[in-house]
């Protein structure tokens, strides 16, 4: 029980840290982002609405003499209400609306791709690690090549190969723009079709890491004493491999999920850029290019919350799988 409470507390702290970071970064760095934003807003035809300016100032810092602390408190209030102001790059839409519209795409793409990659990597890692000394061992270094390949470059290659040359898959976009958005089969089918290459990019780039980690752990675990006992007991090799070896070997991979997820998210952002996939990642980049600081901050926060949430889930799962944590925390 203590374990779960500790984990929860940690993530609360992490969340607080992220939000605070978000608060301080624009204030610490040189430049006056609020003025830039307001100027852009006017360019797009917006008015110099004091309420809007206020929101921006809370987000990004202002020259006023208001105390940092009261700014901080008001900032939190806004965050809690999801009020990030108006987006400049997607004017006149509010930041929260822009995020709400693009977030599902990213979550589905990244979520599914991560799950597939994890499952595939772990499974292959189990098999390769268990059967040491076989030809499979020579596959392992090959996967490191894949891991070293930059996500976006791989995406470029895939696009060049499968889209431009072979025309098997669409070049970009999340769906066929001629179709109407909606929960109909045509749309879903089109969305799935468009998601194949981006998902493939993510899976290919990240599967190597899982595989390697799992394989190393399997090799380590194979020399543990309880494996010897299991063999002495005359259990079937398959059962030993899964119930005794893999179950113990997977623990570090779960524990290290945080690191891996960080990489996946980073790669996803760039992949979205390459494919012009309408997710949160490409919106972030759009925001950067347009100096849309408000949108940037909003997206950063949302991404962070999502990653923290995913990590929390995995950590809780770890507590369930490894009974030793429940007692000793």
């Amino acid at each position: 029980m203590r374990y779960f409470v500790r984990k929860l507390a940690f993530y609360v702290v992490a969340l607080w840290a992220a939000v605070t970071l978000n608060f301080f970064i624009p204030r610490l760095l040189p430049g006056n982002p609020v003025d830039i934003l307001m100027a852009k807003l006017q360019q797009r035809g917006g008015s110099v609405d004091p309420a809007v300016r206020r929101t921006y100032e809370l987000l990004l810092g202002s020259n006023s003499h208001e105390s940092l602390w009261s700014q901080y408190v008001s900032y939190w209030y806004n965050m809690a209400h999801g009020d990030f102001g108006v987006s400049v790059s997607a004017f006149p839409a509010r930041v929260s609306d822009v995020i709400a519209q693009s977030l599902p795409w990213t979550i589905v793409l990244v979520g599914l791709a991560t799950l597939i990659s994890f499952a595939l990597g772990i499974l292959l890692g189990i098999i390769v690690g268990w059967r040491r000394g076989s030809w499979l061992d020579s596959v392992v270094p090959a996967t490191t090549v894949l891991a070293a390949v930059p996500y976006f470059w791989l995406a470029l290659i895939l696009v060049a190969l499968f889209s431009s040359t072979l025309h098997w898959f669409p070049l970009l976009g999340g769906y066929d723009v001629r179709l109407a958005l909606g929960w109909n089969w045509g749309f879903i089918g089109s969305a799935a079709y468009h998601a194949v290459l981006p998902a493939l990019t993510i899976v290919i780039s990240s599967v190597g890491g899982w595989l390697l980690g799992m394989r190393n752990m399997m090799v380590s675990t194979a020399s543990e004493d309880y494996i010897l006992t299991a063999q002495a007991k005359g259990l079937r090799p398959g059962r030993i491999m899964m119930r005794y070896a893999a179950r113990n070997a997977v623990l570090p991979s779960l524990a290290g999920f945080a690191i891996s997820l960080g990489f996946v998210v980073s790669g996803a952002i760039v992949t979205e850029q390459v494919f012009s996939y309408p997710g949160v990642g490409s919106k972030l980049l759009q925001a950067v290019q347009n100096n849309d600081y408000a949108l940037m901050q909003g997206i950063f926060l949302v991404i962070t919350v999502a990653v923290l949430g995913a990590n929390l889930i995995v950590d809780l799962l770890y507590g369930v799988i490894d009974p030793r944590t429940r007692n000793h925390s």
């Binding site: 702290v13 470059w153 090799p237 960080g262 950067v288 940037m296 962070t304």
Partner: protein, 323 residues
Amino acid sequence: MTNISPLTEPVGEPLQAPAHADPGGARPRSVSSWRAILPRWSPKLGVGLGLVTAIALFGIVGPLLVGDPSAINNIGLTPPGSGYLLGTTQTGQDVFAQLTYATRGSLQIGLMVGVMATALSAFFGIIGGYVGGVTDESFSLFSNVMLVIPGLPLVIVISAFVPAAQRGTTMIAVVLAITGWAASSRVLRAQTLSLRNRDYVAAARVSGEKPWRVVTVEILPNLLPVLASQFVFAVVFAILAEAALSFLGLGASNSSTLGTMLYYAQNGFALQRSAWWWFVPPGTIIALFGCGLSLINFSIDEIINPKLRTEPKKRAARRSVAA
């Protein structure tokens, strides 16, 4: 499953005798047995070192041998041949020349970030792990939080707030180092904790050695393989992250790296025009360099964890069945 006939060939020059694979409390040999700490030769290590050396040379020496990478020509986008080893960009610039300068740029940043990130992670990981107590708790909490906050979005946000004029190579390197040290520090901390409990460290502390001496003389040498491995990771991470950053247009504004090459390639519609000679080489170099470093890391891994070693096959002929 075991059988009468051995499945693998004998281990050559084992670091420890086969009966005890766990280093346990044994004190490492003196400096004269450096041989024992160095990675054992294997094809993987050879390939890795070869790749890394080749690319490093390419980046260091290459720029001295090629022409001006930014010289504009009005021959436009041309494929390899006719005087240009790797063709030209859409503005007629020599892609091969650019490649050498870009490699140098990437290597520079990779090295800088590698050193800084490793230094940071060593500080937080080793000192926290050794001192323990509140220091350790707070260091550990700090690195866990830094770990869990997604890296690239943070880097993007920070880079975006810095005006383009001030976004130099050093600034980018600092930003990358700040966001990339957390994972290594966790590993180093775990290693330090385990080493701290070894008998020889306890003996040193009990006999009154000053803490800094204990750390530098007893603990650090044993951490060398792990440190080396983390350094390699950091360099790989740095090169990839920098490439991604530059590709997004957020990289260092005054330097040319493999990432910026790809950025220009993307903006010059190299993909759509099937100008493979422009965007394939930079990525290939990144991939090969990363691969080489990873292979080296493999060998270092085998030192750290003897159970991972695969015995060399060619020793079969030399094995004699002693009576």
